[in-house]
C-alpha cells in the first residue's frame, strides 16, 4: 500500500510542470509576464500584448508530450485554434475589421499622401537584403522583411506561407515593434528633419463625398488585385470591410466586422501566436537575429517615409508642402504612427494638428504593406 502510494505520487509529479520544467520555459514565462506588465502599466498595445503575453505563458507551461494539450500537438484545443494562424485564416479577417473601421477620407482628399505609404515599404526590402546577407534563405528573408511593414496580421500571413518555423519569432517581433512605435520613431523623425520643416502647416483636407467613399474600395481592389493577385486575401478583405462601412446600407455587418469579429480574431490570433513561442522552438540565435532585423527594417521604413516627404517637398509649391513629421506614418501601424506624428508636431507648434494628415499615409501604408506581401509571395512561394 505504501509503495503504491509513493509510486502514485511519483507518477503524478512526473506529469506535473515542475518535473518537466526547463530554464527556457521559465525565461519565456518571464517574457510573457513582461508583455502583460507593459500592456497594463504603460498601455503599450494592450489589446495585443495581453493575449500574446498570456499565450506565451500558456505555451511555456511544461507538460509531458502526448497529452494533447500543446499547441503543436495534433487534436489539442490550442492546435485547432492555431490552425487559423497556420493556414492564414485570421489575418484576412483582421483586415476585414480594419477595413470596416478605417476612414479613407484623408487619403481621398489628399491623394499625394499615398506615395509616402509606398516609400515606407523600403524597410521591408532592406530587411530582406540584410536577412539574406545574414544567411537566411530567400523565403525566410521575405518573412522577416515583412516586419518592416509594421503590420502584425500581414507578418503572420506571410510567415505562415513562407517560413512557418519562424512564425512565432516574426509575429512577436512585429507586434513588439508596433507597440514600441512611440519609442522608436520620434528620434528618427527628429534626426531627419529641420526645425523649420517641423513647423510646416498643411492645407486642411477637403470634404469627401459619399460617392467617392463608396467608389474608393471598389476601384482600389480592382487596381491592386489585378496587379498583385497574391495579395487578394488581405487586400480583398480590407476593401470589402471598407465597402461595408461606406455603403451605409450594411451598418450591421460593418459593426460586426469592426467590433465583435475583429475582437474575437484578435483574441485568437494573439493567444495562439503567443502559445507558438514554446521555448524549445523560440529560444534560438535565429530569434535574436529576427528581432535585430525587425528593428532595422522598422528604422529604415520610418526613415524612408520621412526622407521621401522631404524629397517630395522639393517639387511642391509653397502652401502645398507636406510636413515631414507625417513621413513616419507610411508604416501601417494604424493609428499609432499617425498619433506619433501628431504628438511630435504639437511639440513644435501647439496649434499644428497633424493627425488627420498623418492618417492618409498611415492607411496607405496598410495598402502598401499588403501589396508588398503579395509581391513577396509571388516571387518566393
Amino acid at each position: 500500500m505504501k509503495e503504491f502510494f509513493i509510486e502514485g505520487l511519483q507518477q503524478f509529479f512526473n506529469y506535473s510542470g515542475f518535473a518537466n520544467c526547463e530554464w527556457g520555459n521559465l525565461i519565456m514565462i518571464v517574457v510573457g509576464l513582461i508583455f502583460i506588465t507593459l500592456a497594463i502599466t504603460k498601455e503599450y498595445e494592450p489589446m495585443l500584448l495581453i493575449p500574446i503575453g498570456f499565450g506565451i505563458i500558456l505555451g511555456n507551461i511544461p507538460f509531458t508530450d502526448g497529452l494533447q494539450v500543446g499547441v503543436y500537438e495534433n487534436g489539442s484545443v490550442l492546435n485547432y485554434l492555431y490552425f487559423g494562424v497556420l493556414k492564414g485564416v485570421y489575418p484576412p479577417l483582421i483586415f476585414l475589421g480594419i477595413g470596416a473601421m478605417t476612414d479613407f477620407s484623408a487619403l481621398i482628399s489628399n491623394p499625394k499622401l499615398i506615395l509616402i505609404g509606398a516609400a515606407a515599404q523600403c524597410g521591408i526590402f532592406a530587411a530582406y537584403a540584410a536577412s539574406l546577407a545574414l544567411g537566411f534563405t530567400p523565403m525566410e528573408a521575405g518573412a522577416i522583411g515583412i516586419i518592416g511593414g509594421a503590420d502584425g496580421p500581414t507578418a503572420i500571413f506571410i510567415s505562415s506561407k513562407l517560413a512557418p518555423s519562424l512564425m512565432g519569432a516574426i509575429a512577436i517581433s512585429a507586434y513588439s515593434y508596433m507597440a514600441l512605435v512611440p519609442v522608436i520613431q520620434p528620434p528618427i523623425m527628429r534626426l531627419l528633419t529641420t526645425p523649420k520643416e517641423r513647423l510646416i502647416r498643411m492645407r486642411p483636407p477637403r470634404a469627401v463625398s459619399h460617392r467617392e467613399k463608396v467608389m474608393f474600395p471598389l476601384l482600389c481592389i480592382l487596381l491592386t488585385a489585378f496587379l498583385v493577385p497574391t495579395g487578394l486575401p488581405l487586400l480583398g478583405m480590407l476593401f470589402f470591410g471598407n465597402l461595408l462601412k461606406e455603403s451605409s446600407v450594411t451598418k450591421r455587418l460593418a459593426n460586426t466586422a469592426s467590433n465583435a469579429l475583429i475582437d474575437i480574431v484578435t483574441i485568437l490570433i494573439g493567444l495562439t501566436v503567443g502559445c507558438s513561442t514554446q521555448a524549445s522552438t523560440f529560444l534560438k540565435v535565429e530569434s535574436i537575429l529576427i528581432f535585430v532585423l525587425g528593428a532595422f527594417s522598422f528604422v529604415i521604413a520610418t526613415a524612408c517615409g520621412v526622407l521621401f516627404v522631404k524629397l517630395f517637398n522639393l517639387f511642391l509649391k509653397e502652401g502645398n508642402k507636406i510636413n515631414p513629421l507625417i513621413g513616419n506614418s507610411g508604416v501601417s501601424a494604424v493609428p499609432d504612427s499617425a498619433r506619433v506624428s501628431n504628438v511630435e508636431g504639437l511639440k513644435y507648434d501647439k496649434t499644428n494638428f497633424l493627425l488627420m494628415h498623418a492618417m492618409g499615409p498611415n492607411v496607405a501604408g496598410v495598402i502598401g504593406s499588403a501589396v508588398a506581401a503579395g509581391i513577396l509571395l509571388s516571387f518566393l512561394y
Partner: protein, 320 residues
Amino acid sequence: MNIKHRILTLCIVLCSSMVLFGQQVTDLRLNEMLVVNDSNYVDEYGRHVPWIEIFNTSYNQVNIAGCYLTDDTTGLSKGDASRWYRIPTTDPTTWIPQRSSKVFFLDNSPLYGTYHTNIDPNTSSTHYIALINSNGKTLIDMFVYPEALLTSTQSFGCYDDGISTKVENGKKVKNMGMLPYATPGSVNKVQMGATKSEHLQKSDPHGIGLAVISISVVFAALIMIFIMLKIFGYTATRKDRKAKKEQVADTVAATSTVKVAANEVGPTGEELAAITMALHLFFNSQHDEESEVITIDMPSKHYSPWAQKNLLMKKVIRRR
C-alpha cells in the same frame, strides 16, 4: 417581379451555378495511360494490367463517384449508360484531393473493386477512353490515344498535368505525347530543377533585384490609386468649382451695377453715412423702458432615464 429584378436574379443564379460548377467533376481530366504494363504499377492483386490516370485540375477535392468510364460513347446523348463502367458511390476513397490523381485499371474485371473497370484497350475497337458525368449525358473528358500505345512500354499522356492542348504562336497545339517516365498516381511533369526560391537565391544572391522590382511594383500600384484619386477629386470638386466661379461672377456683376448706379443717381458716401446715422438715432429713441422686474419661466419637465424611479430602486426578490 419586374424585368430588372428578373434579370438580376438570373445573373445571380448563373454566377452561383458557375461557382458550383467550378468545384465539380468537370475539373477532372484523363491524364496518363499505359497499356503494355510489364514492370510498372501493380494492382492490389499483384497483377500488371493496363491503367489510366484521372487528374483533378482544381484546387478543391472532387468526388468522382457516380461518373462513368467507357471506351464506347454510343448512347451518350440518350444517357444510355448500360454498357459503361460506373464508379461506385459507396466507396469513400473516390474523393480526389486538389491537384492529385487516381489510377483506374483497364483490366475488364469490374468485380475486383472500385478501381477495376470493364474496359480492356487490347480488345477495344476504339482508341479512346471517355469520362462521363453521373447524369450519363455530359462528356467530361475524352482521352484519345495513338495505336502505338498498344505496343509501347512507355505511357501516353499530358506533358503538363491536366492540360491536353496549349496555345503556341497563336495556334492551338496538342500537349500530349509519349512520356519519358510512367508516373501512375503522381504528377506527369517531374520537377527535376531548383525551386522558385532556390532559383532566386542563385540569380539574385543579395536581394537587390527583388527589392528594386518590388519597390517599383508597390509604387506602381499606389501611383495608380493616386491617379484614380486625382481624377476622383477633380470630378467631385467640378461642381463646387463651377458654383464658385458663378458666385464670383455674380458678385463682380453686382458690385459693378451698384457702382454704376451710385455714379449715376445715388448719394455720395458722406450722404449715406449721414442717413445711416440718422436712422440709428431714430430707432434708438424708439426703445421702450424696461420694468426692471425679473420673471423666471420654469421649463417643463424633460424626460430623463436618470430620473426614473424604477431604475433607482433595487428590485425586491419575490419568493414563490
